[in-house]
Amino acid sequence: MTDLRTSLHRVADAVDPLPVNDDLWQRGVAARRRGQALVVAAVVAIIASVTWSAVLLGSDDREARTASGEVVEGGAIPSRIVDPADLEPESDLAVGRASVAFASSGGQAIVVTAADGSYHALELPDWDGELVALSPDGSRLAWTVDGEVAPGLPGRGLAIVDLVTGEETVHATAGADGDFLTAQQVSWASGSQWLTWSGGATVGRIPVGSGETETYGSQADIVWTAIDDDGTVTFDEGPPQQWPVGGTPRSADIDGNQLAWGGNPYERIDGAVSSPTGNTFALSTSEPFPAADFLTSSRFEERPLATDLYPDGAAVRPLGWATDTLVLAQVDAPEGSYVEGSHLALFTAPNTPEQQWTYRVVAREVTHQPLSVAVDLLPDLDDTSSQQLTYDFPAPPERDISWIIGLGVAAAIAVLMAVRWLWRRLLG
């Protein structure tokens, strides 16, 4: 009797050997390579989608700071000033009054608007990527230009924009010989109506809004320059010189005293900001030193920093004058200091009796990038204002990131399904 097993063998035995293609090996090798390529592509796609999600999540923190909906009447200086990663550039410069401006480490011109603390990366026309300087009232921004300084005239200059109206003026920066030069330093007058710049041996003065610029060619390179509310420029040319409006530079005569000059003992000085009345100048140093430097009443003065705060000194970079006696500065303190790293401090100048000196750290989390701050946003310090010195702009409600996670997972699943489909298709 024939059983199923025997019958199956009879059926099978009747089958002639089936022809097999000669190129099976080559097809198999090609399929293997395609498979490997697909695996690599899938891995890359997954890594890319994960990275993309991470970038979205990573940008959340920056967005949080830039999207606060809270508005402070009259504006305020933020209590935290960070160096953001790349932001979406904005071509409309009329962003409103600003509290802070600086060149980010990523090469963007960053402006923090005063009312809401949001960050803006401005597309400044022909900006050379170097200097940005915010006026003390926060309404104007100046920057160094490498481009067209007049219709059809390429060169170097300074541009100033009104951040409220967006109106822009460009001032060429050139030496006495007419050659263009780059402004190395810019300093605003306390009243925001004057601006001085220096480059090489040339110092310039710009009355804001006039479209004019006035220059003076010195005998030596100018290290620092400052300007008061009368437009008088004080600059360092060996002994400090003063250049009044309508006059010629002469040895500095501060408070009626001719400066007793015995050479500049402060080679560390690389910038200055004039007090509103022009009788005191806060000087800037880039290396840690146990004192803040001033030029006042015909002499240089060192205003000692508290050793318990800064045992190894600190680099003090004045940003402006809140009053005739109070200076706001960006202080960079070395490790081991009471407040390490970059921060903002408000302290009395030595044009005040020492027993009245004060020192307040007003913002601890501050980028190392050189800042320009609208000091007029500091409240009156005569105890008549309840406003804090800086404002802690709150982060907006935490962004709902569930959709990002969902999107990432969906993308990964889609990639895997596509790979699987391709795989099966290629394998026939």
Binding site: L4, D13, L18, W25, R32
Partner: protein, 165 residues
Amino acid sequence: MTTSDETGFDEFVAARSAALSRTAYLLTGDHHLAQDLVQAALVQAVRHWRRIHTSPEAYVRRAMYHQNISWWRRRKIAESPLESYDGAVPPPDTDLRLTLDQALARLTPKQRTVLVLRFYEDLTEVETARALGLSTSTVKSTTRQSLARLRTLAPELAELIGADA
């Protein structure tokens, strides 16, 4: 350039393609499909040739089993459903081989594959389950259902089926 791997593969194909063809025909019931099945399994073997440390034939056969079921699933979606699925095979053929052939063609590939593995390849239920990635109880029930279906489709085969059932 011919490598030692390629030479070994060619030798394997030359030696075992006839046996593989027979199994492939039983699995598919169609010469063209059987040829495709053998070649697809061989291509898959090439892709993993260096990693096949045991028997290449066992690997190729296992690939054929799975490939056949996979193809059927796709054809099932693409093609129209079986007609008169449970109807008896028309006029009994005098040739028993052809009758069995026709009856097998009315089984699902899963049922057919289980029968081929159990009664042609002589695998045990455990080995069949392992080869197909099924549980042993599934193999048992599928075998039972397959034989019952053969009895329905080809009553004249009841005697030989009964001998194994």
